[in-house]
Symmetry: C3
Subunit: 325 residues, 3 copies
Amino acid sequence: MKKVLFATTALVASTSFAMADVDLSGSAEMGIVGGDGFEDQFHTDIDVTFSMSGTTDTGLTFGASIDLDESDADRTIAGVPINNQNGTTEDIEVGGSPAFDNTTQGGETIFVSGAFGTLTMGDTDGAFDWALAEAIIGSAINDDHEHAGYNGNAGLDGTFDGQIARYDYSFGDFAFAASAEMNDENDNDDDDVFGLGAKYSGEFGTMNLGFGLGYQTRDEADIVGVSVTAGMDNGIKAILNYSDLDGVNGNDHHTGLAVGYSAGAITVAANYGIFERVDGSENEGFGLIGNYDLGGGAQLQAGYGNSDRDGVDTDRYSLGVAMSF
Amino acid sequence: MKKVLFATTALVASTSFAMADVDLSGSAEMGIVGGDGFEDQFHTDIDVTFSMSGTTDTGLTFGASIDLDESDADRTIAGVPINNQNGTTEDIEVGGSPAFDNTTQGGETIFVSGAFGTLTMGDTDGAFDWALAEAIIGSAINDDHEHAGYNGNAGLDGTFDGQIARYDYSFGDFAFAASAEMNDENDNDDDDVFGLGAKYSGEFGTMNLGFGLGYQTRDEADIVGVSVTAGMDNGIKAILNYSDLDGVNGNDHHTGLAVGYSAGAITVAANYGIFERVDGSENEGFGLIGNYDLGGGAQLQAGYGNSDRDGVDTDRYSLGVAMSF
Amino acid sequence: MKKVLFATTALVASTSFAMADVDLSGSAEMGIVGGDGFEDQFHTDIDVTFSMSGTTDTGLTFGASIDLDESDADRTIAGVPINNQNGTTEDIEVGGSPAFDNTTQGGETIFVSGAFGTLTMGDTDGAFDWALAEAIIGSAINDDHEHAGYNGNAGLDGTFDGQIARYDYSFGDFAFAASAEMNDENDNDDDDVFGLGAKYSGEFGTMNLGFGLGYQTRDEADIVGVSVTAGMDNGIKAILNYSDLDGVNGNDHHTGLAVGYSAGAITVAANYGIFERVDGSENEGFGLIGNYDLGGGAQLQAGYGNSDRDGVDTDRYSLGVAMSF
């Protein structure tokens, strides 16, 4: 028996109605994906997100979020010698994400917010990632426009278990954040990871400008990044992102640039990025997307990405419909 | 704090209210199951399904569906030599279904529908299964009435990763479908699977007749099946299903027959099926059910199944309550 | 596109509106935890629960419940020799709880209720656990107040697969229960587990008194327990719990005591418990909590627990916010 969720007008009007609630949203994608070394095939992806929120007697808001995709995510167990393969081993994928364990994160975020600002814990961005605008515009069902030269600005997030606490505060056009990821490993004396970030956005005539500045530090590395976003009333948008990565993951510094144009239901965009590495090599790439908004939460998305890993070229593409509910 | 889902009249009336939404439905079963080589024991099963839908500006409908049972399903990793067992290995069950991976299916379906017909992708029936009515009537909490001679008409679905695209179109009493499952394995040159199906249903005096015709093809096999369904106003229903399986899984052809009777809250039914195999052997069986509808979504269900695998006889039974929410 | 769940006044008013429905509730915790041999670290925990209910035509109520935490729980596979470690093995955690398998339980409960009483199946308490009040008051985000001497009164529950059927019936201030857990292991001739429980609660002047009596039996063990709860109008509450464990898990008998005081939004409580073991050793401990209710479903929680396992002392603490939605 199909059931639309139960909610009476009487309940909503009642003074004893709990302020806290749970909302559902979802997304889905269908289409075709392919590329170098990757057979053309169907793409079907889906997610459901639970968003919970409430208000204390003194007016603080609090809430939490988790989605099925991350709470059901796979983990890889490396080197399992299955089927008596004479010493050879395989990596196996097992489920059971740590979303519901307490001292790890697996996709959940939890927050408390008030006049003092907002404190967020769990699978949230450190202050570096929070501050910077990534050099990418538009969407593709298979994220093909994220290539070997694309930087998601994760910074030092995930150095330990990825369980992050971030405090942020905004006033007017300015916002600030500080974050920490604690070293929770029993046999590891490394320092915790700390981060700071600042953002500004403002209108200048027909242009909307945004600036981001982020910093993160741990034992052997201090990273710093800056981003500039410019959006014009005529539908053109540009994002520039530069970060000094201090050798983290072998990267010396990164530069990214994205340019896009929107008119009515259509968005087209391109992005380029390059990691200059400590060993002198380069990982670079570019991405292209075309999006057409069908209305009601559906969007046609075409994406292409080209990656050049120190001279070795590969590409990927996708075409399909993305839906949000 | 228990929370009935939040929905205000104001929101529903608002013109800015998004058309896309997420609905919840569920099912549960409790009872007792047992049979040959299967200790009598409690049966408790549960599921929750998320159904998402929306409408584009031009009136296309789109949507997606996923349930917790399939998104949390187990997979078996064979041959793991656990606990230093001196070379012996075990099969272990691990979770993490591919529901949320993009190039596999794990229970999700996604569709777009309009005047042109409906395109469905994911864990959906190929055109062969879509067209044919299975020779089974009524329900049992443990599906005991599905025996060694029962055919679910899966046909060639699942030859590769089970990720299927099906287009179907209906007008009046007729409906047609075409489907494909792509070979997405890098080291496999086999052809993709294609299928075609047609359905007709109509009223003839006091009788409701339905016909289904399905065809599927891949490299080494072409299968074809036909089904006839007859329902009479006096509550008697019969289904006949025949398919030529061309040696797929060792089966030459299959015949199934189901007869049922409904009066008020009661349904009783029997079904019989037989696989005649390439090697001359036979897998056959019969199933019996009695269902009593308690109203409000609850139903008493008794089921029995007898399987004869080339002369070896086993049976199973169950008794309990099935609930739908 | 964010979506508040869809529910129209028209649907609710309709006479054809199904009585059966699915409700969502959730909980989350954020804070800091630590203790002996346990690095100070962030704590972020989350859960979402699905509650389904309906009514038959004759007025029986039925329903079911499952939550994401338990349906996504980890299982441990012991002794896997990963990464060619020269014969050494590791325990790996894999997901895929048995919540959605039918002859096991993995957090789901299913019930039917009427004038005859209530029958509950699945991951529910046996009659022993159902009858007894545990000697604990208040909450801590990491349950630190549950120590080596704490007894959750599980009794013989979980002797086999933990899939329990319990019948309970109440009239006036009295309630009774009987429960069974079937031996569903093919190569095991042990008897099933049976249990009986009785509860009484009543008002005596300014005091609220509760009594519980529980009994459970299987092949080699009969356990019996009793609990007394006293709550006074001045906010003081006390719980005493004693059980004779007949050697189950090496325990001879257990005694627990909890005392708490609530005034307005504040609750403070302490509990003490001791297992006297068959071998003459003792496992004991005490726990302390302070809770402050912020309203709207949020609560500040501080917890401390001290465990003494046969003379070896450890402690744990936590501080944070618990939220219910």
